[in-house]
């Protein structure tokens, strides 16, 4: 589904990713872990197509097509979803209006009928319920005045409605209390399916107690320096990132 080969990327002329290679197949859940500044967020932003994030070398293929040739909105329509580390507040645009525009765009690109107003509202309410978000949030401006946890749950709510093929969660767990974390994890787990791939970018192992990954990768200085199964996360939790970055130095 996603094929990242020797990816080099820069932000504002500064090289952040320095030869990252990663293969994600449908049905898999990958966790990408790493210390601050290792390039985790850069990876998710490059994949979503944020302006200013330049691919300088290497390839990223999504369903066999080069991602670099697709606009941000085309990627979303092709089934890529990024749950933002810092969801953006848009006062004046209601959450419902936003969801409607987004669903219309994504569904029509996928050859699906637009949802009628009643069905859309019902689905949005169900998704809200699923992530413990009061339905009043649908009427409010997008993320406007939401707490950190509410913003993250709003991201998961959108993800549930958009039913992406490839979901990228950029530090969705950061700053959440355990209850909120469980809500987010429940939402993500509900989306796990053989057709869908999920990439969790996280700083903390804690999230992986609730969403059990198939693969864990450690990112340091713009490269994946170690990959393994879910037990790698536990090892990291015990030994810290220094264990790996140190290992690399002595190798």
């Amino acid at each position: 589904m996603l094929e990242v080969r020797n990816l080099h990327a820069s932000v504002d002329g500064k090289d952040i990713l320095k030869g990252l290679t990663l293969t994600v197949k449908p049905g898999e859940v990958h966790a990408i872990m790493g210390p601050n500044g290792s390039g985790k967020s850069t990876l998710s932003n490059v994949l979503a197509g944020r302006p200013g994030y330049q691919i300088t070398a290497g390839d990223v293929l999504y369903e066999g097509k080069p991602l670099a040739e697709m606009e941000t909105e085309e990627r979303a329509r092709a089934g890529i979803f990024l749950a933002f580390q810092y969801p953006v507040e848009i006062p004046g645009v209601s959450n419902m209006e936003f969801l409607k525009a987004s669903l219309e765009a994504v569904r029509s690109a996928q050859g699906k009928e637009p949802l009628d107003a009643v069905t859309l509202l019902r689905r949005a309410r169900e998704a809200c319920q699923h992530v413990n978000l009061d339905q009043q949030f649908l009427k409010r401006g997008v993320n406007e005045g939401f707490s950190g946890g509410e913003k993250k749950r709003n991201e998961i709510m959108q993800m549930m409605l958009l039913e992406p093929k490839l979901a990228l969660l950029d530090e969705t767990d950061s700053g959440l209390d355990i209850d909120a974390l469980q809500v987010v994890a429940k939402g993500v787990n509900a989306l796990r399916s053989p057709e869908r791939a999920i990439v969790l970018v996280t700083h903390y192992q804690r999230l992986l107690d609730y969403i059990v990954p198939d693969h864990v990768h450690v990112l340091a200085d713009g490269k994946i320096i170690k990959s393994g199964g879910k037990e790698l996360a536990l090892e990291l939790e015990q030994k810290g990132y220094g264990w790996l970055t140190g290992e690399e130095e002595s190798a």
Binding site: A48, G49, R50, P51, E71, T72, E73, R75, A76, R77, L82, F84, P87, V88, I90, P91, G92, V93, E97, F98, A101, S102, A105, V106, A109, G141, V142, Q158, L162
Partner: protein, 411 residues
């Protein structure tokens, strides 16, 4: 002769040409005398620094508008509709809702001295007086709420350059309530010279909309003067899209204590259009709150000017005044000049003013696009979102829904 002198010459010729013998003769004559001594606006005057009147050299001031033969198309926003074409009042005024009466200036009784007693603020206000065909005078009855929404449509149209004086006067009797939509429509190179005066009597309330939706080739220079007496409440919304030339001078006087003003506005200047709003709110009396929120958007080579002045007089203790003007630029060549002014002559006041000019937020744009929304639509959503806060504060659903669509078209 300089262009300004030539235009001044046209003003006087026009003023003379429109003189005739009827009940309004003395009003016109007096105005002509005033026009003789008033200078024609040019960019050397602070109030006209950013707005040139070269568009008027096409000849709008050389010819008075003639009566229109065809009827206007406009959205149904109110319950009681009065259409005024090129400044000519209908031969018969429609049936009016309970609590409201309407007369023409020319048929008003001599006791309606307010028409001639008050002086216009500007040269164009005097020109409105000097060339006035007729004006509409609306009066509410004491302690009555006018249940119907009154929709006064000023329809100005001409295929050749000309000048139309549009005139409305509203007098709210003590304790009365009114919802009024003042709506400018039309097309062609006609100059709508609009003068509206609202006198809010003690304890009266008005919800006022001033909608300016003429075609891009029409010109509009307008004056809105609001005088508020004790404990009156004025809620005024002013919405406009740009055209060749649009200038509004809005002057509110809070004359007696307890008078409250809430004003908001949205102006959108796209393509080559020009919009200038000059606002002056005077706190003459003590204990008056005023609140103003204006939002502007300029795109392509659009140009918008905003000047908001709050003037707190020495006896206006306990004044609470705020003014904000936030603007969004959509392109490199667009320009918005915003200037808030505070003049405070006593120290027992609460005053806040602020102005911002920014671009569309890149992070917001990316967020929408990352959800599959194409760039053009995302920009439109953000533009609408930017002005929505102001539109949602408007009371009447019919105007609000229409305005959201109509302004959305310009984004």
């Amino acid at each position: 002769m300089t262009p300004a002198e030539q235009l001044k010459d046209s003003v006087l010729t026009l003023a003379h040409a429109t003189q005739r013998d009827d009940t309004l003769t003395s009003l016109r004559r007096h105005a002509v005398e005033q026009l003789k001594v008033l200078p024609f606006p040019d960019k050397k005057q602070e109030a006209w620094k950013y707005t040139g009147l070269h568009a008027l050299t096409a000849g709008q001031l050389n010819q008075p508008a003639t009566m229109l033969q065809h009827s206007a198309q406009f959205p149904a926003l109110g319950d009681c509709v009065i259409v005024i074409g090129n400044g000519f009042l209908p031969a018969q005024l429609p049936d009016l809702p309970a609590g409201l009466s309407a007369t023409t200036f020319s048929s008003a009784t001599p006791s309606d001295k307010s028409i001639s007693d008050e002086h216009p603020d500007t040269l164009f206000g005097w020109l409105n007086n000097a060339s006035l065909n007729d004006g509409l005078l609306l009066k509410t009855e004491r302690n009555q709420k006018v249940a119907a929404v009154v929709h006064v449509v000023f329809f100005n149209h001409s295929d050749t350059p000309c000048h139309a004086a549009n005139r409305l006067q509203v007098e709210l009797a003590e304790g009365s309530e009114l919802t009024l939509i003042e709506h400018y429509i039309g097309s062609g190179p006609i100059l709508a010279n609009a003068l509206t005066r609202i006198q809010a009597g003690p304890n009266s309330r008005i919800t006022h909309y001033r909608l300016q939706s003429e075609a891009a080739d029409t010109l509009h220079i307008g004056n809105l003067q609001i005088d508020q007496q004790r404990d009156s409440y004025v809620d005024s919304s002013q919405l406009m899209r740009g055209n060749v030339l649009r200038r509004n001078d809005i002057h509110v006087r809070l004359l007696e204590s307890g008078a409250e003003l809430s004003m908001r506005g949205v102006f959108i200047a796209r393509d080559q259009s020009h919009i200038d709003n000059h606002i002056n709110v005077e706190h003459v009396a003590a204990h008056c709150p005023s609140n103003q929120i204006y939002k502007g958007i300029a795109g392509e080579k659009g140009r918008a000017v905003f000047n908001g002045r709050i003037h707190i007089h020495p006896y206006a203790k306990g004044s609470d005044a705020s003014l904000s003007n936030n603007n969004m630029l959509l392109s490199r060549d667009a320009e918005i000049d915003s200037k808030p002014e505070l003049e405070i002559y006593n120290d027992d006041v609460k005053c806040a003013h602020g102005t911002t000019v920014g671009q569309m937020d890149a992070a917001q744009l990316f967020y929408l696009r990352s959800r599959g929304i194409d760039e053009a639509k995302a920009k439109r959503m953000l533009g609408t979102g930017f002005v929505n806060e102001t539109l949602l504060a408007m009371h009447d659903d019919s105007v609000r829904d229409w305005a959201i669509d109509w302004l959305g078209e310009a984004l």
